[in-house]
Amino acid sequence: MIVAENLNKIYGRVTAIADVSFEVEEGEILGFLGPNGAGKTTTMRILTGFLTPTSGKAVIAGYDVQNDSVNARRQIGYLPENTPLYNEMDVLSFLGFAAQIKGIPPGDRAAQIRNTMHETGIEGVATRSLGKLSKGYRQRVGLAQALLGDPKVLILDEPTVGLDPAQIREIREVIKNMAGKRTVILSTHILPEVSMICERVMIINDGRLVAADAVGDLQRRLARSRLIRVLSKAPSDQVSGMLSELDGVSKVECVLVPNEEGVCQLSIETSPDQDLRPMIASQIVNKGWDLYEVRSMDPTLEDIFVDITMGEKKEV
Protein backbone atom coordinates (compact mmCIF):
# COMPACT_ATOMS: atom_id res chain seq x y z
CA MET A 1 0.00 0.00 0.00
CA ILE A 2 2.85 2.35 0.82
CA VAL A 3 6.26 1.97 -0.76
CA ALA A 4 9.17 4.28 -0.03
CA GLU A 5 12.37 3.79 -1.97
CA ASN A 6 15.66 5.37 -0.97
CA LEU A 7 14.16 8.63 0.21
CA ASN A 8 16.65 11.40 0.84
CA LYS A 9 15.99 14.94 1.94
CA ILE A 10 18.87 17.34 2.18
CA TYR A 11 18.59 20.98 3.20
CA GLY A 12 21.83 22.66 2.26
CA ARG A 13 24.33 20.84 4.41
CA VAL A 14 21.82 19.24 6.71
CA THR A 15 20.62 15.79 5.85
CA ALA A 16 17.14 15.38 7.26
CA ILE A 17 16.68 11.80 6.12
CA ALA A 18 19.06 9.50 4.31
CA ASP A 19 18.20 6.47 2.25
CA VAL A 20 14.93 5.64 3.93
CA SER A 21 13.18 2.66 2.34
CA PHE A 22 10.23 0.73 3.66
CA GLU A 23 6.96 -0.86 2.70
CA VAL A 24 3.66 -0.99 4.48
CA GLU A 25 1.13 -3.69 3.65
CA GLU A 26 -2.55 -3.03 3.27
CA GLY A 27 -4.39 -2.99 6.59
CA GLU A 28 -1.23 -2.79 8.61
CA ILE A 29 -0.60 -0.38 11.46
CA LEU A 30 3.00 0.76 11.46
CA GLY A 31 4.56 2.62 14.35
CA PHE A 32 7.21 5.11 13.45
CA LEU A 33 9.56 5.72 16.32
CA GLY A 34 12.45 8.04 16.83
CA PRO A 35 13.78 10.78 19.04
CA ASN A 36 12.77 14.36 18.27
CA GLY A 37 14.40 15.65 15.12
CA ALA A 38 15.20 12.19 13.79
CA GLY A 39 13.27 12.67 10.57
CA LYS A 40 9.83 11.25 11.32
CA THR A 41 7.95 14.36 10.28
CA THR A 42 10.11 14.85 7.19
CA THR A 43 9.37 11.31 6.05
CA MET A 44 5.65 11.78 6.61
CA ARG A 45 5.65 15.10 4.79
CA ILE A 46 7.25 13.42 1.81
CA LEU A 47 4.59 10.73 1.84
CA THR A 48 1.84 13.35 1.77
CA GLY A 49 3.56 15.25 -1.03
CA PHE A 50 4.09 18.36 1.11
CA LEU A 51 7.85 18.02 0.70
CA THR A 52 9.69 16.83 -2.37
CA PRO A 53 12.47 14.38 -1.61
CA THR A 54 15.94 15.32 -2.84
CA SER A 55 16.06 11.84 -4.34
CA GLY A 56 14.11 8.62 -4.12
CA LYS A 57 10.43 8.04 -4.59
CA ALA A 58 7.31 7.17 -2.67
CA VAL A 59 4.24 5.40 -3.99
CA ILE A 60 0.87 5.32 -2.25
CA ALA A 61 -1.72 2.81 -3.41
CA GLY A 62 -0.02 2.72 -6.79
CA TYR A 63 0.22 6.49 -7.25
CA ASP A 64 3.57 8.24 -7.21
CA VAL A 65 3.39 11.06 -4.66
CA GLN A 66 5.22 13.50 -6.93
CA ASN A 67 4.18 12.65 -10.46
CA ASP A 68 0.62 11.76 -9.61
CA SER A 69 0.32 13.88 -6.54
CA VAL A 70 -3.39 14.68 -6.55
CA ASN A 71 -4.37 11.04 -7.01
CA ALA A 72 -1.94 9.93 -4.34
CA ARG A 73 -3.37 12.51 -1.94
CA ARG A 74 -6.87 11.24 -2.63
CA GLN A 75 -5.82 8.00 -0.86
CA ILE A 76 -4.47 9.78 2.21
CA GLY A 77 -5.87 11.12 5.41
CA TYR A 78 -3.22 13.19 7.16
CA LEU A 79 -2.97 14.57 10.65
CA PRO A 80 0.01 16.94 10.74
CA GLU A 81 2.08 17.48 13.84
CA ASN A 82 0.53 19.97 16.32
CA THR A 83 -2.84 19.76 14.53
CA PRO A 84 -2.95 22.98 12.54
CA LEU A 85 -6.58 24.07 12.05
CA TYR A 86 -8.33 27.16 10.74
CA ASN A 87 -9.01 28.82 14.05
CA GLU A 88 -11.75 31.15 12.89
CA MET A 89 -13.95 28.30 11.64
CA ASP A 90 -16.34 26.19 13.65
CA VAL A 91 -16.01 22.42 13.69
CA LEU A 92 -18.91 21.72 11.39
CA SER A 93 -18.00 24.20 8.68
CA PHE A 94 -14.37 23.13 8.81
CA LEU A 95 -15.32 19.50 8.26
CA GLY A 96 -17.66 20.66 5.47
CA PHE A 97 -14.73 22.46 3.86
CA ALA A 98 -12.49 19.39 4.15
CA ALA A 99 -15.25 17.13 2.79
CA GLN A 100 -15.75 19.37 -0.22
CA ILE A 101 -12.06 19.51 -1.11
CA LYS A 102 -11.70 15.78 -0.59
CA GLY A 103 -14.25 15.38 -3.33
CA ILE A 104 -17.06 13.77 -1.33
CA PRO A 105 -20.28 14.14 -3.37
CA PRO A 106 -22.56 16.84 -1.91
CA GLY A 107 -25.29 14.31 -1.11
CA ASP A 108 -23.01 12.17 1.06
CA ARG A 109 -21.23 14.96 2.89
CA ALA A 110 -23.65 15.45 5.76
CA ALA A 111 -23.86 11.73 6.51
CA GLN A 112 -20.10 11.20 6.33
CA ILE A 113 -19.41 14.18 8.53
CA ARG A 114 -21.93 12.91 11.05
CA ASN A 115 -20.30 9.47 11.07
CA THR A 116 -16.76 10.71 11.54
CA MET A 117 -17.89 13.12 14.24
CA HIS A 118 -19.50 10.20 16.01
CA GLU A 119 -16.43 8.01 15.55
CA THR A 120 -14.13 10.62 17.03
CA GLY A 121 -16.57 11.81 19.69
CA ILE A 122 -16.82 15.47 18.73
CA GLU A 123 -20.58 15.79 18.26
CA GLY A 124 -20.77 17.86 21.42
CA VAL A 125 -18.54 20.63 20.03
CA ALA A 126 -19.99 20.78 16.50
CA THR A 127 -20.70 24.49 16.59
CA ARG A 128 -17.69 25.57 18.63
CA SER A 129 -14.97 27.66 17.08
CA LEU A 130 -11.78 25.67 16.42
CA GLY A 131 -9.63 28.35 18.01
CA LYS A 132 -11.41 27.88 21.32
CA LEU A 133 -11.24 24.09 21.52
CA SER A 134 -9.05 22.29 24.02
CA LYS A 135 -6.01 20.41 22.80
CA GLY A 136 -7.80 17.08 23.08
CA TYR A 137 -10.73 18.17 20.98
CA ARG A 138 -8.47 19.80 18.41
CA GLN A 139 -6.67 16.51 18.07
CA ARG A 140 -9.95 14.72 17.53
CA VAL A 141 -11.11 17.23 14.96
CA GLY A 142 -7.77 16.69 13.25
CA LEU A 143 -8.40 12.98 13.26
CA ALA A 144 -11.94 13.50 12.01
CA GLN A 145 -10.81 15.51 8.99
CA ALA A 146 -8.22 12.83 8.23
CA LEU A 147 -10.93 10.16 8.29
CA LEU A 148 -13.27 12.06 5.98
CA GLY A 149 -13.50 10.59 2.52
CA ASP A 150 -12.68 7.16 3.88
CA PRO A 151 -9.00 7.21 2.81
CA LYS A 152 -7.13 3.93 2.42
CA VAL A 153 -4.06 5.31 4.11
CA LEU A 154 -3.85 7.30 7.32
CA ILE A 155 -0.71 9.20 8.21
CA LEU A 156 -0.78 10.44 11.78
CA ASP A 157 2.03 12.57 13.12
CA GLU A 158 2.09 12.24 16.89
CA PRO A 159 -1.66 11.84 17.32
CA THR A 160 -1.61 11.54 21.10
CA VAL A 161 0.72 14.37 22.07
CA GLY A 162 -0.73 16.72 24.65
CA LEU A 163 -3.74 14.62 25.52
CA ASP A 164 -4.73 13.46 28.97
CA PRO A 165 -4.57 9.74 29.71
CA ALA A 166 -8.28 9.15 29.14
CA GLN A 167 -8.18 10.93 25.80
CA ILE A 168 -5.05 9.04 24.80
CA ARG A 169 -6.84 5.79 25.47
CA GLU A 170 -9.82 6.86 23.38
CA ILE A 171 -7.70 7.93 20.42
CA ARG A 172 -5.78 4.67 20.66
CA GLU A 173 -9.03 2.75 20.54
CA VAL A 174 -10.11 4.65 17.44
CA ILE A 175 -6.82 3.86 15.73
CA LYS A 176 -6.73 0.26 16.88
CA ASN A 177 -10.19 -0.35 15.46
CA MET A 178 -8.86 0.57 12.05
CA ALA A 179 -6.55 -2.43 11.90
CA GLY A 180 -7.33 -4.43 8.78
CA LYS A 181 -9.56 -1.72 7.35
CA ARG A 182 -7.01 0.99 6.78
CA THR A 183 -3.29 1.24 6.43
CA VAL A 184 -1.94 3.46 9.16
CA ILE A 185 1.45 5.01 9.77
CA LEU A 186 1.72 6.72 13.09
CA SER A 187 4.67 8.46 14.57
CA THR A 188 5.20 8.82 18.25
CA HIS A 189 7.86 8.92 20.86
CA ILE A 190 5.66 7.24 23.42
CA LEU A 191 6.93 3.70 23.39
CA PRO A 192 4.21 1.73 25.15
CA GLU A 193 1.84 3.21 22.60
CA VAL A 194 3.59 1.40 19.80
CA SER A 195 3.54 -1.96 21.56
CA MET A 196 -0.15 -1.38 22.25
CA ILE A 197 -1.39 -0.28 18.84
CA CYS A 198 1.07 -1.29 16.19
CA GLU A 199 1.86 -4.58 14.59
CA ARG A 200 5.10 -3.42 13.15
CA VAL A 201 7.56 -0.79 14.21
CA MET A 202 10.18 1.23 12.43
CA ILE A 203 12.85 3.10 14.33
CA ILE A 204 14.57 6.09 12.81
CA ASN A 205 17.57 7.86 14.23
CA ASP A 206 19.57 10.75 12.77
CA GLY A 207 17.67 10.43 9.52
CA ARG A 208 18.38 6.75 9.03
CA LEU A 209 16.18 3.75 9.53
CA VAL A 210 17.89 1.65 12.16
CA ALA A 211 15.34 -1.08 12.69
CA ALA A 212 12.08 -2.24 11.19
CA ASP A 213 10.24 -5.36 12.24
CA ALA A 214 7.22 -6.80 13.98
CA VAL A 215 7.17 -5.52 17.54
CA GLY A 216 7.78 -8.96 19.12
CA ASP A 217 10.48 -9.98 16.67
CA LEU A 218 12.26 -6.75 17.18
CA GLN A 219 12.28 -7.24 20.89
CA ARG A 220 13.78 -10.66 20.52
CA ARG A 221 16.15 -9.92 17.69
CA LEU A 222 17.64 -6.76 19.00
CA ALA A 223 18.06 -7.80 22.58
CA ARG A 224 21.74 -7.98 23.40
CA SER A 225 21.07 -10.42 26.21
CA ARG A 226 18.18 -12.39 27.56
CA LEU A 227 17.04 -12.17 31.13
CA ILE A 228 15.59 -15.15 32.96
CA ARG A 229 13.99 -14.74 36.32
CA VAL A 230 13.79 -17.72 38.69
CA LEU A 231 12.06 -18.07 42.05
CA SER A 232 13.37 -20.91 44.12
CA LYS A 233 13.70 -21.98 47.73
CA ALA A 234 17.41 -22.68 47.77
CA PRO A 235 20.58 -21.58 49.54
CA SER A 236 21.45 -18.44 47.68
CA ASP A 237 25.22 -18.75 47.37
CA GLN A 238 25.07 -22.39 46.28
CA VAL A 239 22.40 -21.82 43.65
CA SER A 240 24.07 -18.76 42.17
CA GLY A 241 27.41 -20.54 42.11
CA MET A 242 25.93 -23.49 40.29
CA LEU A 243 24.01 -21.42 37.72
CA SER A 244 26.89 -19.12 36.88
CA GLU A 245 28.92 -22.14 35.79
CA LEU A 246 26.39 -23.01 33.09
CA ASP A 247 27.36 -22.38 29.47
CA GLY A 248 26.01 -19.09 28.15
CA VAL A 249 25.27 -17.52 31.50
CA SER A 250 26.99 -14.21 31.89
CA LYS A 251 25.71 -12.94 35.19
CA VAL A 252 23.62 -14.15 38.10
CA GLU A 253 22.12 -11.96 40.77
CA CYS A 254 20.33 -13.26 43.78
CA VAL A 255 18.06 -11.47 46.21
CA LEU A 256 15.92 -12.89 49.01
CA VAL A 257 12.23 -12.34 48.53
CA PRO A 258 10.81 -10.49 51.52
CA ASN A 259 7.92 -12.15 53.39
CA GLU A 260 8.69 -15.57 51.96
CA GLU A 261 11.23 -17.35 54.03
CA GLY A 262 14.11 -18.91 52.16
CA VAL A 263 12.83 -18.02 48.73
CA CYS A 264 15.27 -16.16 46.57
CA GLN A 265 14.82 -14.43 43.27
CA LEU A 266 17.53 -15.07 40.74
CA SER A 267 18.10 -12.79 37.78
CA ILE A 268 20.10 -14.66 35.19
CA GLU A 269 21.53 -12.92 32.17
CA THR A 270 22.22 -15.25 29.29
CA SER A 271 23.25 -14.91 25.67
CA PRO A 272 20.25 -14.07 23.49
CA ASP A 273 20.60 -16.95 21.01
CA GLN A 274 19.85 -19.82 23.38
CA ASP A 275 17.04 -20.58 25.77
CA LEU A 276 18.44 -21.93 29.03
CA ARG A 277 15.16 -22.18 30.88
CA PRO A 278 14.77 -26.02 30.75
CA MET A 279 18.39 -26.47 31.74
CA ILE A 280 18.09 -24.15 34.71
CA ALA A 281 14.86 -25.79 35.83
CA SER A 282 16.26 -29.30 35.71
CA GLN A 283 19.46 -28.29 37.53
CA ILE A 284 17.49 -26.83 40.40
CA VAL A 285 15.05 -29.72 40.61
CA ASN A 286 17.89 -32.26 40.51
CA LYS A 287 19.39 -30.64 43.57
CA GLY A 288 16.08 -31.17 45.36
CA TRP A 289 15.35 -27.46 45.76
CA ASP A 290 11.82 -26.16 45.40
CA LEU A 291 11.21 -24.36 42.12
CA TYR A 292 8.42 -21.78 42.04
CA GLU A 293 8.87 -19.93 38.78
CA VAL A 294 11.03 -19.69 35.68
CA ARG A 295 10.29 -16.71 33.51
CA SER A 296 11.86 -15.21 30.43
CA MET A 297 11.89 -11.43 30.68
CA ASP A 298 11.59 -9.94 27.20
CA PRO A 299 13.19 -6.55 26.99
CA THR A 300 10.65 -3.79 26.58
CA LEU A 301 10.51 -1.73 23.46
CA GLU A 302 11.81 1.09 25.57
CA ASP A 303 14.99 -0.80 26.36
CA ILE A 304 15.56 -1.50 22.69
CA PHE A 305 14.79 2.03 21.65
CA VAL A 306 17.17 3.55 24.14
CA ASP A 307 19.72 0.92 23.28
CA ILE A 308 19.57 1.62 19.57
CA THR A 309 19.31 5.37 19.58
CA MET A 310 21.84 5.97 22.33
CA GLY A 311 24.18 3.21 21.15
CA GLU A 312 24.38 4.70 17.68
CA LYS A 313 25.36 8.04 19.06
CA LYS A 314 28.13 6.52 21.11
CA GLU A 315 29.53 4.70 18.11
CA VAL A 316 29.56 7.89 16.09
Binding site: R45, T48, G49, F50, L51, T52, V70, N71, R73, R74, I76, Y78, P80, N82, P84, L85, Y86, N87, E88, M89, S93, F97, A98, Q100, I101, K102, G103, Q145
Partner: protein
Protein backbone atom coordinates in the same frame (compact mmCIF):
# COMPACT_ATOMS: atom_id res chain seq x y z
CA UNK B 1 -13.92 23.96 -9.90
CA UNK B 2 -15.57 22.79 -6.68
CA UNK B 3 -12.14 23.03 -5.08
CA UNK B 4 -11.74 26.66 -6.12
CA UNK B 5 -15.22 27.32 -4.77
CA UNK B 6 -14.40 25.64 -1.45
CA UNK B 7 -11.26 27.74 -1.00
CA UNK B 8 -13.12 30.86 -2.11
CA UNK B 9 -15.88 30.36 0.46
CA UNK B 10 -13.40 29.69 3.23
CA UNK B 11 -11.39 32.82 2.42
CA UNK B 12 -14.51 34.97 2.21
CA UNK B 13 -15.58 33.70 5.60
CA UNK B 14 -12.13 34.41 7.00
CA UNK B 15 -12.32 38.01 5.75
CA UNK B 16 -15.73 38.67 7.22
CA UNK B 17 -15.45 36.69 10.46
CA UNK B 18 -12.42 38.72 11.46
CA UNK B 19 -12.74 42.51 11.67
CA UNK B 20 -10.27 42.86 8.79
CA UNK B 21 -12.68 43.34 5.89
CA UNK B 22 -14.85 45.76 7.87
CA UNK B 23 -11.88 47.85 8.96
CA UNK B 24 -10.62 48.08 5.40
CA UNK B 25 -14.08 48.95 4.07
CA UNK B 26 -14.51 51.71 6.60
CA UNK B 27 -11.02 53.05 5.97
CA UNK B 28 -11.51 53.08 2.21
CA UNK B 29 -14.96 54.60 2.27
CA UNK B 30 -14.09 57.24 4.83
CA UNK B 31 -11.01 58.43 2.95
CA UNK B 32 -12.90 58.43 -0.35
CA UNK B 33 -15.76 60.25 1.37
CA UNK B 34 -13.49 62.96 2.71
CA UNK B 35 -12.08 63.61 -0.74
CA UNK B 36 -15.55 63.51 -2.26
CA UNK B 37 -16.62 66.12 0.22
CA UNK B 38 -13.61 68.35 -0.50
CA UNK B 39 -14.03 68.04 -4.26
CA UNK B 40 -17.74 68.64 -4.00
CA UNK B 41 -17.33 71.87 -2.00
CA UNK B 42 -14.70 73.01 -4.45
CA UNK B 43 -17.05 72.30 -7.34
CA UNK B 44 -19.97 74.19 -5.81
CA UNK B 45 -17.73 77.12 -5.16
CA UNK B 46 -16.42 77.43 -8.69
CA UNK B 47 -19.83 76.78 -10.16
CA UNK B 48 -21.10 79.68 -8.09
CA UNK B 49 -18.20 81.86 -9.25
CA UNK B 50 -18.89 80.81 -12.81
CA UNK B 51 -22.54 81.84 -12.59
CA UNK B 52 -21.64 85.23 -11.14
CA UNK B 53 -19.03 85.71 -13.81
CA UNK B 54 -21.48 84.73 -16.57
CA UNK B 55 -23.99 87.32 -15.42
CA UNK B 56 -21.29 89.97 -15.58
CA UNK B 57 -20.03 89.00 -19.07
CA UNK B 58 -23.33 89.19 -20.97
CA UNK B 59 -22.87 88.48 -24.68
CA UNK B 60 -19.11 88.09 -24.58
CA UNK B 61 -19.03 84.34 -25.45
CA UNK B 62 -19.17 81.74 -22.69
CA UNK B 63 -16.01 80.14 -21.20
CA UNK B 64 -16.29 76.37 -20.63
CA UNK B 65 -18.59 75.42 -17.79
CA UNK B 66 -16.93 73.66 -14.82
CA UNK B 67 -17.26 69.95 -15.44
CA UNK B 68 -18.75 67.95 -12.57
CA UNK B 69 -17.28 64.59 -13.61
CA UNK B 70 -13.78 65.98 -14.02
CA UNK B 71 -13.72 67.94 -10.85
CA UNK B 72 -15.49 65.65 -8.43
CA UNK B 73 -15.77 62.03 -9.48
CA UNK B 74 -12.61 61.53 -11.51
CA UNK B 75 -10.71 63.29 -8.78
CA UNK B 76 -11.87 60.59 -6.40
CA UNK B 77 -10.72 57.75 -8.62
CA UNK B 78 -7.25 59.33 -8.67
CA UNK B 79 -7.31 59.43 -4.90
CA UNK B 80 -8.48 55.80 -4.80
CA UNK B 81 -5.39 54.59 -6.62
CA UNK B 82 -3.32 56.10 -3.86
CA UNK B 83 -5.41 54.68 -1.00
CA UNK B 84 -5.23 51.27 -2.60
CA UNK B 85 -1.47 51.35 -2.07
CA UNK B 86 -2.25 50.95 1.64
CA UNK B 87 -5.44 48.94 1.50
CA UNK B 88 -4.45 46.18 -0.92
CA UNK B 89 -1.34 45.03 0.99
CA UNK B 90 -3.49 44.76 4.12
CA UNK B 91 -6.02 42.76 2.19
CA UNK B 92 -3.53 40.36 0.65
CA UNK B 93 -0.88 39.93 3.32
CA UNK B 94 -2.65 37.18 5.22
CA UNK B 95 -3.52 34.98 2.25
CA UNK B 96 -0.51 32.66 2.39
CA UNK B 97 1.49 34.03 5.32
CA UNK B 98 -1.20 33.13 7.82
CA UNK B 99 -1.49 29.58 6.52
CA UNK B 100 2.25 29.17 6.75
CA UNK B 101 2.40 30.55 10.26
CA UNK B 102 -0.42 28.37 11.56
CA UNK B 103 0.77 25.34 9.60
CA UNK B 104 -2.61 24.92 7.96
CA UNK B 105 -0.87 25.08 4.58
CA UNK B 106 0.43 21.59 5.34
CA UNK B 107 -3.09 20.36 5.99
CA UNK B 108 -4.43 22.10 2.90
CA UNK B 109 -1.70 20.70 0.67
CA UNK B 110 -2.40 17.18 1.91
CA UNK B 111 -5.87 17.39 0.35
CA UNK B 112 -6.31 16.39 -3.27
CA UNK B 113 -6.15 19.94 -4.58
CA UNK B 114 -3.85 21.62 -7.09
CA UNK B 115 -1.74 24.64 -6.14
CA UNK B 116 -3.43 26.56 -8.93
CA UNK B 117 -6.85 25.91 -7.41
CA UNK B 118 -5.70 27.14 -4.01
CA UNK B 119 -4.27 30.28 -5.58
CA UNK B 120 -7.36 30.91 -7.72
CA UNK B 121 -9.72 30.56 -4.75
CA UNK B 122 -7.69 32.91 -2.59
CA UNK B 123 -7.12 35.45 -5.33
CA UNK B 124 -10.79 35.56 -6.35
CA UNK B 125 -11.87 35.98 -2.73
CA UNK B 126 -9.55 38.94 -2.20
CA UNK B 127 -10.67 40.36 -5.55
CA UNK B 128 -14.30 40.10 -4.47
CA UNK B 129 -13.63 41.97 -1.24
CA UNK B 130 -11.85 44.67 -3.23
CA UNK B 131 -14.62 44.84 -5.86
CA UNK B 132 -17.13 45.23 -3.02
CA UNK B 133 -15.28 48.35 -1.84
CA UNK B 134 -15.38 49.83 -5.31
CA UNK B 135 -19.06 49.13 -5.74
CA UNK B 136 -19.83 50.86 -2.46
CA UNK B 137 -18.16 54.04 -3.75
CA UNK B 138 -20.87 54.21 -6.45
CA UNK B 139 -22.85 55.64 -3.57
CA UNK B 140 -20.98 58.93 -3.95
CA UNK B 141 -21.87 59.08 -7.62
CA UNK B 142 -25.51 58.42 -6.77
CA UNK B 143 -25.57 61.13 -4.13
CA UNK B 144 -24.51 63.60 -6.79
CA UNK B 145 -27.37 62.43 -9.02
CA UNK B 146 -29.66 64.54 -6.82
CA UNK B 147 -27.57 67.61 -7.38
CA UNK B 148 -26.49 67.40 -10.97
CA UNK B 149 -29.36 67.64 -13.43
CA UNK B 150 -27.54 66.06 -16.37
CA UNK B 151 -27.24 62.30 -15.75
CA UNK B 152 -24.99 61.47 -18.70
CA UNK B 153 -21.95 62.00 -16.49
CA UNK B 154 -22.51 58.54 -15.00
CA UNK B 155 -21.40 56.96 -18.28
CA UNK B 156 -18.12 58.80 -18.23
CA UNK B 157 -17.32 57.05 -14.96
CA UNK B 158 -16.98 53.65 -16.62
CA UNK B 159 -13.39 54.18 -17.80
CA UNK B 160 -11.96 55.42 -14.48
CA UNK B 161 -13.66 52.60 -12.60
CA UNK B 162 -12.35 49.99 -15.03
CA UNK B 163 -8.95 51.56 -14.48
CA UNK B 164 -9.17 51.43 -10.69
CA UNK B 165 -10.34 47.82 -10.86
CA UNK B 166 -7.45 46.77 -13.12
CA UNK B 167 -4.95 48.65 -10.99
CA UNK B 168 -6.31 47.02 -7.85
CA UNK B 169 -6.13 43.59 -9.48
CA UNK B 170 -2.48 44.19 -10.33
CA UNK B 171 -1.75 45.36 -6.76
CA UNK B 172 -3.51 42.31 -5.40
CA UNK B 173 -1.53 39.86 -7.48
CA UNK B 174 1.68 41.43 -6.27
CA UNK B 175 0.34 41.33 -2.71
CA UNK B 176 -0.50 37.65 -2.91
CA UNK B 177 2.96 36.98 -4.30
CA UNK B 178 4.64 38.76 -1.41
CA UNK B 179 2.39 36.81 0.95
CA UNK B 180 3.75 33.57 -0.47
CA UNK B 181 7.30 34.72 0.34
CA UNK B 182 7.11 34.81 4.10
CA UNK B 183 5.20 33.44 7.05
CA UNK B 184 5.15 36.86 8.66
CA UNK B 185 2.10 38.86 7.67
CA UNK B 186 3.62 42.20 8.60
CA UNK B 187 6.73 41.55 6.53
CA UNK B 188 4.55 40.49 3.62
CA UNK B 189 2.45 43.65 3.93
CA UNK B 190 5.50 45.90 4.14
CA UNK B 191 7.11 44.26 1.11
CA UNK B 192 4.05 44.74 -1.05
CA UNK B 193 3.46 48.31 0.14
CA UNK B 194 7.08 49.31 -0.49
CA UNK B 195 7.36 47.72 -3.91
CA UNK B 196 3.99 49.07 -5.05
CA UNK B 197 4.86 52.54 -3.78
CA UNK B 198 8.10 52.51 -5.75
CA UNK B 199 6.24 51.29 -8.85
CA UNK B 200 3.78 54.14 -8.30
CA UNK B 201 6.34 56.87 -7.74
CA UNK B 202 8.61 56.10 -10.68
CA UNK B 203 5.95 57.48 -12.98
CA UNK B 204 7.21 60.91 -11.89
CA UNK B 205 10.81 60.24 -12.88
CA UNK B 206 9.87 61.34 -16.38
CA UNK B 207 8.96 64.79 -15.12
CA UNK B 208 12.23 65.30 -13.30
CA UNK B 209 14.47 63.68 -15.88
CA UNK B 210 12.85 63.22 -19.27
CA UNK B 211 14.60 60.87 -21.65
CA UNK B 212 15.11 57.16 -22.04
CA UNK B 213 15.23 56.44 -18.30
CA UNK B 214 12.15 58.55 -17.69
CA UNK B 215 10.28 56.76 -20.44
CA UNK B 216 11.25 53.33 -19.21
CA UNK B 217 10.11 54.23 -15.71
CA UNK B 218 6.87 55.53 -17.07
CA UNK B 219 6.22 52.33 -18.97
CA UNK B 220 6.87 50.21 -15.89
CA UNK B 221 4.98 52.37 -13.44
CA UNK B 222 1.62 51.13 -12.21
CA UNK B 223 0.28 54.68 -11.98
CA UNK B 224 1.33 56.05 -15.38
CA UNK B 225 -0.88 53.47 -17.04
CA UNK B 226 -3.83 54.63 -15.02
CA UNK B 227 -3.78 58.26 -16.13
CA UNK B 228 -5.56 57.65 -19.45
CA UNK B 229 -8.35 55.80 -17.67
CA UNK B 230 -8.89 58.78 -15.39
CA UNK B 231 -9.33 60.91 -18.52
CA UNK B 232 -12.09 58.59 -19.69
CA UNK B 233 -10.08 56.56 -22.19
CA UNK B 234 -9.87 52.75 -22.14
CA UNK B 235 -6.70 51.99 -24.03
CA UNK B 236 -6.07 48.30 -24.78
CA UNK B 237 -2.35 48.88 -24.24
CA UNK B 238 -2.95 49.88 -20.63
CA UNK B 239 -5.46 47.08 -20.12
CA UNK B 240 -2.87 44.63 -21.44
CA UNK B 241 -0.26 46.09 -19.08
CA UNK B 242 -2.39 45.44 -15.99
CA UNK B 243 -3.43 41.97 -17.12
CA UNK B 244 0.15 40.95 -17.90
CA UNK B 245 1.35 42.45 -14.61
CA UNK B 246 -1.22 40.39 -12.70
CA UNK B 247 -0.58 37.22 -14.68
CA UNK B 248 3.16 37.55 -14.14
CA UNK B 249 2.92 37.77 -10.36
CA UNK B 250 0.27 35.09 -10.09
CA UNK B 251 2.58 32.85 -12.05
CA UNK B 252 5.47 33.69 -9.73
CA UNK B 253 3.25 32.89 -6.74
CA UNK B 254 2.52 29.49 -8.21
CA UNK B 255 6.24 28.90 -8.66
CA UNK B 256 6.81 29.94 -5.05
CA UNK B 257 4.24 27.46 -3.82
CA UNK B 258 6.00 24.69 -5.68
CA UNK B 259 9.52 25.70 -4.77
CA UNK B 260 8.79 25.85 -1.05
CA UNK B 261 8.86 22.10 -0.95
Amino acid sequence: MTNVWAIYKREMRAYFVSPLAYVLYVLFLVVCGVFFNINFSYYTQISHNYMTMMSMRQGMGAPPMPNYTDLVLMGITNVMTFILLFIIPMLSMRLFSEEKKLGTIELLMSYPIRNGEVLAGKFLAALTVFAGMLILTFGYALISANVVPDQTYLKTLIAPYVGVFLLGTAFLSFGIFSSSLTENQIVSGVISFTVLLVLWLISFVNEIQPGVLGNICKEISVYAHFEDFSKGVIDTGHVAYYILFSAFFLFLTLRMLESNK
